[in-house]
Every structure is written in structure tokens, then in C-alpha cells.
């Protein structure tokens, strides 16, 4: 992040975001979210989503997403399959630009600037908003070249500088010790957990402002998962993290705030994802404001 955005907004945690301020035809049938009891504290908003809808062709994938994502917090998106949580996270770094037919409606601001304005450079957006995918996707290059890929795009050419960046990124991703002696060997030889940490390191190497993680642990064993969760806690001091997860315990363990999405049939009977509730994680898991949230987290549904 280079310049301080002009219209950085703050909001207090008890600002209710009940997330279903949707288009007129959609029924708003939800009680207000529980007031959170977290002490008042200024939150710097990184992303502000209002009335966000995403379409794939003519099909509406998700609708009525209103939420604010605050700086240096971990925000978790949970919900059953098909509820749109991945669709929403991919709209935050304009990954939908790459999907033919995908359209994002409503407004998403990033540090107060409209993310989908024609003047925005999507490559610059993705440089600042890193992403880790569900399946580890190391490039078929050496470990070193994987990490150096991003900095090289940004014009870093000096070997000594790249060496420093690679070491720093791998250290932040808790992988340096395991790979420092084989930086020149192929990244494809790493185990699943290592490969995922490599992908995190690769994202960190461009020094992003936000890290989006789309089910980063779904292909990993519990030990690798625990390492990545520890990592998220450490990274949080310098980063804003948004994570999509199917694992509710994970959301409860790592996140500060949780958004619960679900998929419900619209007036034409097609299933459309929507945001049900967004609140402090503890509130979501102990006294959710919506019966659907409660049903999901207690395992009666989903």
C-alpha cells in the first residue's frame, strides 16, 4: 500500500451488518444480528461491499452481500457448498475478470476506492490483494523461481535483493527451514502442506496488503493445517486476511469475524447464495442471530 486512501472509513463493532439488504424481490426475513460485546475500537475498513451480486452468465450465483472487512483482522466466510462464499472472495481481487460471462454487480470499495471502476488496473489490484487457492498451485519451476516470480514481475532484478525477498517470504511462511538447502529444486517435489506454504510465501513475496485464502487447508492433513493456522495468526499483524473455509472449527479458531452464507431458492426456484449473518466470530458461534446460522453451526443443516 503506497498512499493513504482519501476516504478511509471506520466503524465500530456494534454497527449491525445484517447482510440481507438485497434487491427488492428477495425477502428480507431476518432478525437483526446480535449486538456484539467487543469493546469499542476503531476498525479501519479495507473492503466495503454493498449489495454485491455476482452472475455467471444469466445465473445469479450470490446476492445481497453487504459487509465490511477490517484491517489486520481475519475474516472467515463459512457456509454450505454453493452458497457463494468462494464467489464473493474471488470478487475481492477481481479474479472474476478471468471467467468469461462472470459479472459483479453492486459496489466493492477497497480503501474507499471503487474496485470495479474502469480506471482501476486489475493487475495492480491483484498485486496488492494476494490469493491462496484451494489446491496448491506451485508453478513448474524451482522453489526459488516460484517465490521470485512476483517480485520479478514488479521489476526486481538484482540477485541479492531477490535472495533477501525469497528468504524473508519463506521464513514468514514457515517453510525456510525445510527448503533452504534445495531452493533450486522443483517446487513440484514438495508435499501438499509444503506446497501450500510455498504458495503463501509466493503471495507474501510481493508484500500484499490483503491475503485472500480460498479453502487453503482443504487438501491438507491436520498437522499441515495447524501450521497454516499458526501462520495466519502471525501474519495478521501486518495483513488483512479473508479466508473461505468449510471447516467451522477452523473459522472459530482463526477468525475475528465470521460471515455465514447459505444457498436458498429464489423466486424462480434456482438456488442463489446469500449472506445470512456477519458478526464477531464468538457471537456467530455462541449466540447466532439467525436460526439458519444456528442450524448450520450445530450441524443440523449443511
Amino acid at each position: 500500500m503506497t498512499t493513504e486512501p482519501p476516504m478511509t472509513t471506520t466503524l465500530t463493532p456494534d454497527t449491525t451488518i445484517d447482510g440481507v439488504a438485497t434487491l427488492p424481490p428477495t425477502e428480507v426475513d431476518q432478525p437483526p444480528a446480535a449486538e456484539s460485546e467487543v469493546p469499542e475500537q476503531e476498525r479501519e475498513v479495507v473492503f466495503r461491499l454493498s449489495e454485491v451480486e455476482v452472475f455467471y452468465g444469466a445465473a445469479r450465483a450470490v446476492t445481497g452481500v453487504d459487509l465490511d472487512i477490517a484491517r489486520n483482522e481475519i475474516t472467515a466466510f463459512i457456509g454450505p457448498s454453493g452458497c457463494g462464499k468462494t464467489t464473493v472472495i474471488r470478487s475481492l481481487n477481481r479474479m472474476h475478470d478471468l471467467t468469461p460471462g462472470a459479472r459483479v454487480m453492486g459496489t466493492i470499495t477497497y480503501h474507499g476506492e471503487n474496485l470495479y471502476s474502469g480506471k482501476v488496473d486489475p493487475a495492480e489490484v491483484r498485486r496488492r490483494i494476494g490469493m491462496v487457492f484451494q489446491k496448491p498451485n506451485p508453478f513448474p519451476k524451482s522453489i526459488y523461481d516460484n517465490i521470485a516470480y512476483g517480485p520479478r514481475i514488479n521489476g526486481t532484478r538484482k540477485r541479492s535483493q531477490l535472495d533477501d525477498i525469497v528468504e524473508h517470504a519463506l521464513t514468514r511462511a514457515a517453510l525456510w527451514g525445510e527448503v533452504k538447502d534445495k531452493l533450486k529444486s522443483s517446487a513440484l517435489g514438495l508435499s501438499g502442506g509444503q506446497a501450500q506454504r510455498l504458495c503463501i510465501a509466493r503471495a507474501l513475496a510481493v508484500d500484499p496488503d490483503v491475503l485472500l485464502m480460498d479453502e487453503p487447508c482443504s487438501a491438507l492433513d491436520p498437522i499441515a493445517t495447524a501450521r497454516i493456522e499458526d501462520l495466519m495468526h502471525e501474519l495478521k499483524d501486518n495483513l488483512t486476511i479473508v479466508i473461505v473455509t468449510h471447516n467451522m472449527q477452523q473459522a472459530a479458531r482463526v477468525s475475528d469475524r465470521t460471515a455465514f452464507y447459505t444457498a436458498e431458492p429464489d423466486e424462480e426456484g434456482r438456488r442463489v447464495g446469500k449472506l445470512v449473518e456477519y458478526d464477531v466470530t464468538e457471537t456467530i458461534f455462541t449466540k447466532p442471530g439467525d436460526p439458519r446460522t444456528e442450524g448450520y453451526i450445530t450441524g443440523r443443516f449443511g
Binding site: 496488492r128 513448474p140 524451482s142 516470480y149 512476483g150 514481475i153 509466493r202 503471495a203
Partner: protein
Amino acid sequence: MTATVVPPAPPTPRSPSGSILRPRKATGWRRFKSGLASVLFVLAFVAAAIPLIALVYYVTREGLKVFSWEFLTTELPFSQRSVDGGIGPAVVGTIVITVGATLMAVPLGVLGGIYLNEYAGKSKFGALVRFLSEILTGVPSIVMGLFIYTFWVLRVKEQTGFAGSLALACLMLPVVIRTSEEMLKLVPHELREGSLALGSRKSRTIRTVVLPHAAPGIVSGSLLAVARAAGETAPLLFTIGATQTANWNLFEGTNTALSVQIFGNANSPYIPAQERAFGAAFTLILIVFVATALARIVTVVYTRRVSGKS
């Protein structure tokens, strides 16, 4: 572990579909069918391999009778009856014409493949290009030769190696476009996303991630096209003319090629000419083989360098 807390367990646990042993009744018939299938597969393989082995064996045996360094380098004899002389000019011609065609068709074809797979998507223009390229694949090589003859040779009023290269390039182009597109399609989408998510632009992603991944396949496909082009006779018949002496200049003067020499000499009633035809055929196979091997080695080295495998 929980079995102990379930008191009314069924007295005799039965597996759902009876014994796991092979049903005795069917054994003989099934074994027979399995054996028959195996025999048929082996026979099919042998049947497919016979022409290949026979061809290589026969051409090698006949070709080696005249094959020597002199044969490869000396000029063509003035008479088909002559036992002297070699196929030097034809070797030179095949090399320069094929290299010329490759230099035109492969870069253009790979760029075309990149356009179709990475940029055109489902657009109408992309579909049109794809359709035309498919039609081009089906054009007989003699027609391509005639096309270049009327379109190029009659216009510049000279038969040159370059005219032959043009005809061969037109034959190769659709094949290269097609294989490039297919190989690019196989590059996992996650790799593209991974690169773009780091702030890479599309062109850079294609250059640094997509192409290296697809390179071995593109090289294989291009090689097939090169090998086929090197053996083509019809497109060269009207376009390159004939020469008795080696002509390294692609753009000036008439030329000749191994395929044309095979065609001419094999039709000849004279034994020395027929032997030269076999020698030329053997040489052609050898050139294609060496070129293929070289290209594969280059690809392996390049891919290793890019993917960092040691």
C-alpha cells in the same frame, strides 16, 4: 469397537453377494474370453508393427547399398543411367526448404494457437479461424503446390526453394495451430490463476507460465508437421524447379529435394537411378530421425531449465 454394545448381533454374518471365490461355472468361458482378447491385442500390435518394421528394414537394406559420404555430398549425375554421382543438392534442398518452411509456419502457428486458446475464447472470429484452419488441414498437398504456383511462382516468374517453403509452410500451419491450441488447453487453469493473482499481466503469464508448460507438447506436434513436410513431394513439383548442383540460397535459383529425387528416380527404368531413389529415401528417414531427436533433446533441456528440475 462398538460391536460389543450391540447385543442382538445376527448369528451368521453373511457377505452381501455370496462367496468371493470365482464362480466355478463361469471360469472356463471367462478365461477363454480373456485369453482370446489378449491374443487379439497382441495380433493387432504385430499387424500394426509389421509395415513399420518392414519399411524401415527394406529401405535401410536397399539404401545402404549406395549410402556413403560421397553419396550424400556429390552432385547429381547428368544421366539416370550413370552409377556415379550422389544426391548432395537434394540433401541441401530438403534442409533449406524444410527449415525455411518451419521458420515460417511454427512461430505463426504457435501464435495462432495462443490467440485461439488464450484470447479468442468463444468469439465468432475465433470460431471462424478455427474452422478455416480445419479446412486448411484437409487441403491435398498437390493443391497447395498448385496454389503457390499460381499465386507466387507465376507472379515472381521464378521457381525457388522459397516457393517450396511457402507451400510446405501452408501445409504445416494448420497442424501447428491445432496442436498448439490443444496443448495450451491442457495447461491447468490454476497455474494461470496463480500467476495472475500475483499481479502478472496476461501476456507475461502466457510467456512465463503457460508456454513453458505447454512447450514439450507443442514441440512434438510441430515435429510431426515438420517430418511430414520434409517428405512431401507434390507441393515441391511445380514450385522449386530442378537443379543439378547444390543451391544453398533459398531465395534465388531453382532447387531440388530428396522427395523429388525419390519420385523421379523411382520412376526410372534404370537400376542405378532406382538405387539412388532408395539411398535418398534412407537419407530422408535419417534426416527426419536426427531432427526429431535433436528437437526432443532441446525441449527436455529447455523444460528442465524452466521448471528447475535438476
